[in-house]
């Protein structure tokens, strides 16, 4: 798209824009550059009706309220989705236990894991991990609701 640009004409346009911005004396400027300066002067004028002076104040209050509401709705949706997901996973786990539970239990017994000294420590580590995750999640959602 740049092929249609005559470089000399582009330079003329740019020089006129910069001269107009700097308020340089137009004496000895050729008529074509004068026209470009006139175009640049008009383009640099803000002719649009401005935003109302209260736009930022009124807008920010409204937007902050809408954003808070949307975040609350999103949190509510996330919680509902998480609850449903947990329920589906729980039901799936119960079905799997009912179907394969006996098989798994006998496999664990055969492996002799239940008689190992490491079992209590593994349980403690798992509980610590679970508690710290739950605590972090609660803190995060409390922070999100606050904002």
């Amino acid at each position: 798209m740049i092929d249609d640009i005559d470089d000399a004409e582009w330079q003329r346009q740019e020089q006129a824009r910069l001269a107009e911005r700097a308020g340089l004396d137009p004496t000895n400027t050729d008529s074509r550059s004068m026209r470009y300066r006139y175009v640049a002067r008009q383009l640099a004028r803000d002719l649009d009706a401005p935003l109302p002076s209260t736009f930022a104040y009124a807008g920010s209050t409204r937007i902050e309220a809408i954003a808070r509401q949307q975040r609350r709705e999103r949190t509510r949706f996330e919680r509902a989705a998480f609850t449903w997901l947990a329920a589906v996973a729980g039901v799936g786990a119960c079905i799997a236990l009912a179907v394969y539970g006996r098989e798994w239990w006998s496999a664990i017994e055969r492996a002799g894991w239940l008689h190992s000294h490491a079992v209590p420590w593994l349980i403690v580590i798992a509980v610590c991990g679970l508690l710290s995750r739950l605590f972090a999640g609660t803190l995060r959602s409390a922070h999100r609701i606050k904002h």
Binding site: Q13, R32, Y36, V39, L43, A44, I63, Q70, K146
Partner: protein, 188 residues
């Protein structure tokens, strides 16, 4: 601290008046971009509000990879563009086909540049010609001339290649200058 970072962190921490300050600082730029593309003041006001709502909801995703000004301007541009597409407005092709500045072809035969340079009528004709430019070139001229945004920064805001932006600016200014030419062209 970088002023963008200070402002963003204040807004994210829900500091009193922080978001209002952000809006006051960037509302002019958003208004220019949106209003120049959409033209209807009512629509432009609503789209400005939508821009700042999106800014508020997504500010935590701002990574300081570009100035905050460009990030907000990019949101304003995409919202205005989506509005135009939804309303099936021609966006920027008309200029390429040479049909945009129809008013230039109605130029008065008796027009005398030297005598009429300060004439209000000339300014009015020129502004009418700017008004009938397609939305993209009109917005590019405003960003470049009124808001003094450099071409690489406009490219970052709009996602348009710098060459395309230059081409739009070049052709629009050429047409506007031609509007000021006397019919014989003897002042060249």
């Amino acid at each position: 601290m970088n002023p963008d970072r200070a402002l963003v962190e204040a807004v994210l921490a829900a500091g009193p008046g922080a978001f209002e300050q952000l809006m006051s600082e960037y509302q002019g730029l958003c208004w220019h971009i949106i209003h120049r593309m959409v033209r209807s003041p009512e629509d432009a006001r609503d789209l400005c509000q939508e821009t700042f709502l999106r800014v508020h909801l997504n500010l935590h995703q701002f990574r300081y990879e570009s100035p905050l000004k460009h990030w907000i301007a990019r949101i304003a541009f995409s919202i205005a563009l989506r509005h135009l597409k939804r309303h099936k407005n021609p966006i920027g092709d008309a200029l390429a086909q040479g049909s945009a500045i129809a008013i230039a072809e109605d130029a008065d035969d008796a027009f005398d540049f030297e005598a009429a340079c300060d004439d209000l009528a000339v300014a009015r004709r020129l502004h009418a010609a700017i008004e009938v430019l397609p939305p993209i070139p009109r917005m590019l001229l405003t960003l470049y001339h009124l808001d003094d945004v450099a071409i690489p920064d406009i490219a970052q805001i709009t996602g348009l290649p710098a060459g395309t932006i230059k081409s739009h600016l070049y052709r629009a200014r050429l047409r506007l200058r031609e509007l000021l030419e006397p019919p014989t062209g003897d002042l060249r």
